[in-house]
């Protein structure tokens, strides 16, 4: 986590002056998707960096202490040890950035990680996730409870009624969506969002982080996201301090690509330890 964003008085004049040219942004998105042609060790290194930015997530109605425990263990050892060792990366602290669960599973996750002697933070979605349509009172209470249970990071669903009527809230990180929408993290939307981050940085000097979430499933996509951050905001936004990938199945694909890099063969999913 970066230094907290102290926020600033809401300046709607600033917001209303923002212009976005859809076609130019779409073109930029195309260009970014074609930009990263990394091969060999560059690709492997970038994939490992992507791993360290993942908020490894389970947000299912049937989550239990059992599958949350598995998730936490995977988060602490996201890539097979032998694979890391052959790249000489086994002792470089390659873990995911955090695990992300529902508030009621925070305690389970904290317990599992503590037992494994890991300092990985637990993130919790809160505030009536994913719709955010609950009263402020219960939303605040949910945050308090998650924090009491040991959550270090809270993913808040903003009250979109307020957002759509121009009454914005501030934050340390902004996220493309809950991941539960029909359309989630798209590159053009992300470009507009990270440019808002840049705008805010230029105006106040504070760095806000960015978290795309939902539908990010392939190693290739994770590389495009890193490229997007590098191109638009610079290398500083390539670390978990300022960049997270909200994903559940992405890690398995990245691990397979790394397997391919190390062995020259394509792996089956069952060759990778399950989360």
């Amino acid at each position: 986590m970066s230094a907290r964003n102290p926020g600033m008085p809401l300046d709607l004049a600033w917001v209303s002056k923002v212009r976005v040219n859809t076609q130019a942004v779409l073109k930029r998105a195309q260009q970014i998707q074609g930009r990263n042609k990394n091969k060999k060790q560059w690709q492997a290194a970038w994939l490992l960096r992507a791993v360290t930015c993942i908020d490894l997530t389970t947000l299912a109605g049937d989550d239990t202490p059992g599958n949350v425990h598995r998730l936490c263990m995977k988060a602490t050892q996201p890539v097979r040890y032998d694979l890391l060792k052959s790249m000489d990366m086994q002792d470089k602290g390659v873990t995911t950035a955090a695990v992300c669960v529902y508030p009621s599973r925070v305690a389970d996750a904290v317990k599992s990680l503590k037992a494994a002697n890991s300092s990985l933070p637990v993130a919790s979605v809160a505030t009536g996730f994913p719709a955010g349509q609950t009263s402020l009172k219960t939303r605040l209470e949910e945050v308090r409870m998650a924090v009491e249970d040991g959550a270090m990071e809270i993913d808040i669903v903003i009250n979109r009624t307020l957002a759509l009527t121009g009454q914005w809230e501030g934050s340390d990180f902004i996220k493309t969506s809950t991941g539960k929408e029909s359309v989630n993290a798209t590159y053009p939307v992300a470009i507009v969002m990270v440019r808002a981050i840049r705008d805010y940085f230029l105006k106040t000097g504070h760095k806000v982080g960015f978290k795309p979430a939902g539908g990010i499933r392939t190693a290739k996509e994770s590389l495009v996201w890193l490229t997007l951050m590098k191109e638009e905001l610079g290398d500083e936004w390539l670390s978990p301090r300022l960049f997270r990938l909200g994903a559940s199945s992405l890690l398995a694909d990245i691990e397979r690509q790394i397997y391919h890099h190390v062995t020259g063969r394509y792996a089956a999913y069952h060759q990778m330890p399950m989360a």
Partner: protein, 799 residues
């Protein structure tokens, strides 16, 4: 390389740098090997390589050898054209659909070998995208199919020579070659050093795919001397050039007097404004700057113009986006000195720099650099230096932004950024450039006609408009071929008019003294002297007319530039009304005009009256066109709004001031036809009547005076044809000259109008019988219309 490959995963994991771009060149290398790395000329469907020719080495970006090409000699040049002539016979005889079918076969061949082509382009340092070429080929195979149905009554020119300078891209070369082929011409291509290997590959692929031998020949060597060597062959009908200004001018001068029309696209090195208004999406605009301004091979030199209110915002984003950019290799060793000097001078004039890193103390690379706050008069703006330098200028109001963008001898293209629709369209209209990209830049689409304005060329490439340089109206003969005479260009048109003092003058009638017409007023010539006009058959002096010269032309131009912008801005309807009123006045004076024609040319009164009638018809014809398609109305907007993803508005725009040196034949009708065409499209004209038959034109002044055409839109100056031609050629404001006269005059104009560049429409009266003005064929009218307009494309990306 060792330094790069030894980077460990952990190093990269820490630094998060991009890897080296993998560039396999195996396919291209295999093709080069199959030619033993020594590429011959491609003539008559096969590679030709004579052992005794000199060769030229093509090198890759690290200076390593790629292959060698032959330096063609005279013999090769004439061989390529005679092969082209027989290729033309076979190719032009095919029906349209067979030509289209052949071109479509080339498309699939190109797709199959795209990898090889792309690698070869990279190797030869002439990067190009095969997919763009495929699209271009598809587009023009469509036109090959449609030629006879959509462009009837036009015919291919014959053997066309396409010349490009060494720095010209493969795309620009093919943008000329492919439409020429599609219209049924044979092409002799003369590529630059870097484009030679890929063009030779293309020629081979095309012939293998079924293009008849001789239809596309490629000769390599020194572009400059080879261009005129090939052009002097009498089988060549047209020469078209793309590239830098300097080489273009040399080619133009070298081919003057050969009787072959030459067009230039001088896109390379043109200064193009990149204008960011305060209403722009600043991030996207800056993104555009980063993408285009610092490239190693750039087609144009951008000049960034930013509205003062968003200056800080743009500068801050440039700093963020430029951080981490790497130094750009310079194209030539000596460039570093020029770059250093330009930066130093800009700094002395108060410019501040934005650079990702300080430049290394020496070496042929330089970091991308923005020169913030330079003045328009700074050398780095006036004559841009090579290297990744971008001047950044500020402007206060929308109007000033456009003025800043227009204040340049170039008129290639502009990129403008605003979310304000009205501002975008108004700025696009006011910028005197051939292409305006709104909220985008550097878009090259086959459907987009690109035509440089001002000194950026006199040729239209791309789109439907780009086809016409390779066609001529079926009913009009090509310019007769000749050999350049030895003309002393500095003396042309400087001899004083021969004073004819008639012997034994007939005292029964005193010859009338006519006045010429400048800026809406009748006047004598500045010199005060006049020349005699003889009656048909010679002998008697019919009248005296003013002996005009340079100063009269100057006065006429001064008057024209005062009124032409207003005339151009008038609605097409208002222009139509003025022409209708001119027709009505002519109707009232038809008797006087007929008598004048009769006494001047000896034409029977009946036939003279017929000529007046036809002249009235011409005025009405052009008046009617004003507010119709092919008039002043950009009709294509509607078509593209409906079907096209990108909005392409193609406007025929007005040229400006046109000088017309009139033919001897049908003196009234020819003058009225040309005047009507030029004026209807919003131009001002300065007309030089035939020295043999000037009286109908002088009589017509009465008609002009009683019409409501603003004074200055039409001027009529009499005098020696050569003197006045010389005066028109040497005035930079005049953008086009339509000439009927001597071969020598044509040669003089081709030589002189290379710089400052003018559009020329040349006719040699001595050799061709001249057109039949009484039978205005549709294609001749269209040709005239195309001469009277200039094209502008406005590209607006929308969903």
């Amino acid at each position: 390389m060792a330094g790069i490959t030894s980077k460990t995963i952990h190093d990269i994991f820490q630094s998060m740098e991009y890897g080296p771009s993998s560039s396999s060149t195996a396919t291209a290398q295999a093709w080069l090997e199959s030619h033993s790395r020594a590429l011959g000329l491609f003539i008559d469907g096969k590679f030709v390589r004579s052992a005794d020719r000199q060769t030229c080495n093509v090198t890759d970006s690290s200076g390593g050898p790629v292959c060698s090409t032959v330096c063609a000699v005279d013999e090769d040049a004439s061989l390529s054209v005679s092969s082209g002539a027989s290729g033309f016979k076979a190719w032009s005889a095919l029906p349209c659909h067979l030509r289209a079918k052949t071109l479509l076969r080339l498309v699939s061949s190109l797709q199959r070998h795209g990898q090889c082509l792309s690698e070869l382009c990279d190797l030869a340092q002439s990067p190009s995208s095969p997919s763009a070429l495929v699209r271009l080929l598809q587009y023009y195979s469509g036109w090959a199919q449609l030629r006879d149905s959509l462009i009837p009554d036009w015919t291919p020119r014959g053997v066309v020579v396409v010349v490009v300078s060494d720095d010209c891209s493969l795309y620009s070369l093919m943008l000329k070659v492919l439409p020429a082929l599609a219209m049924g011409n044979a092409v002799v291509a003369i590529p630059g050093v870097g484009t030679a290997p890929p063009v030779l590959l293309l020629a081979q692929l095309f012939v293998e795919a079924g293009l008849p031998a001789g239809v596309l020949n490629v000769v390599t060597g020194s572009v400059l001397s080879l261009g005129s060597k090939v052009a002097q062959n009498p089988h060549v009908s047209y020469v078209t050039y793309s590239g830098n200004k300097k080489d273009g001018e040399i080619l133009c001068r070298a081919t003057a007097g050969m009787g072959v029309p030459v067009s230039l696209s001088l896109s390379l090195g043109a200064t193009c404004p990149f204008i960011i208004f305060e209403s722009a999406d600043i991030d996207s605009a800056v993104d555009g700057v980063i993408e285009t301004a610092f490239k190693k091979n750039r087609e144009c030199q951008w000049m960034l113009c930013v509205q003062e209110s968003v200056w800080d915002s743009v500068v801050a984003r440039l700093k963020v986006r430029m951080a981490g950019m790497k130094s750009v290799p310079l194209l030539a060793e000596g460039d570093r000195r020029l770059v250093d000097a330009a930066v130093q001078e800009a700094q002395q004039q108060g410019a501040t720099l934005i650079q990702p890193c300080p430049p290394s103390s020496s070496g042929a690379a330089y970091p991308p650099t923005v020169l913030c706050g330079v003045a328009p008069s700074c050398t780095c703006v006036v004559t841009p230096s090579p290297g990744p330098l971008l001047p950044l200028l500020s402007f206060r109001s929308h109007g000033e932004g456009v003025t800043l963008g227009n204040h340049s001898p170039h008129g290639q293209a502009a990129s403008i950024w605003t979310e304000d629709l009205t501002l975008a369209l108004e700025a696009a209209k006011s910028l005197s450039v051939g292409a305006v990209w709104v909220n985008s830049h550097s878009v090259m689409d086959p459907s987009l006609p690109i035509s440089g304005h001002k000194e950026s060329g006199n040729c239209i490439d791309g789109g439907k408009e780009g086809l016409f340089q390779f066609l001529r109206p079926s009913s009009s003969p090509p310019l007769p071929r000749s050999s350049p005479a030895s003309v002393d260009y500095s003396k042309f048109g400087t001899a004083a008019s021969a004073a004819i003092i008639p012997e034994g003058s007939n005292s029964s009638s005193t010859p009338r003294s006519y006045l010429q017409y400048v800026g809406g007023k009748q006047c004598k010539s500045e010199s005060g002297s006049s020349v005699c006009v003889l009656a048909p058959g010679g002998g008697t002096v019919l009248a005296h007319c003013p002996d005009g010269g340079r100063k009269d032309v100057r006065n006429a131009v001064e008057a024209a530039i005062k009124v032409q912008p207003g005339w151009m801005k008038k609605s097409p309807v208002a222009r139509a009304q003025s022409l209708f009123s001119l027709a009505e006045t002519l109707e009232l004076k038809r008797r006087d005009m007929a008598v004048s024609l009769h006494s001047q040319t000896g034409l029977s009164l009946e036939k003279a009256d017929m000529e007046v009638e036809l002249s009235i018809a011409q005025l009405c014809d052009w008046a009617a066109r004003c507010d119709k398609e092919k008039g002043g109305v950009p009709v294509r907007i509607y078509v593209f709004l409906a079907v096209c993803v990108q909005h392409l508005l193609t406007h025929p725009q007005r040229s400006g001031v046109v000088g017309v040196v009139l033919p001897d034949s049908s003196p009234l009708l020819s003058m009225v036809s040309l005047l009507a065409a030029a004026v209807a499209m919003g131009n001002a004209v300065i007309m030089v009547p035939s020295p043999k038959y000037p009286l109908p034109a002088l009589e017509f002044i009465q008609v002009l005076q009683s019409s409501d055409l603003p004074g200055g839109v039409v001027s009529i100056i009499t005098g020696g044809r050569d003197q006045l031609t010389q005066a028109l050629a040497n005035h930079s404001v005049i953008k086009a000259i339509w000439y009927w006269g001597s071969m020598e005059g044509c040669q003089f104009l081709q030589h002189t109008c290379a710089s400052p560049l003018k559009s020329l429409w040349l006719h040699c009266q001595e050799k061709d019988g001249g057109r039949d003005w009484a039978q205005p064929h549709a294609s001749l009218q269209e040709e005239m219309w195309r001469q009277a307009v200039q094209w502008k494309s406005v590209w607006i990306p929308t969903a």
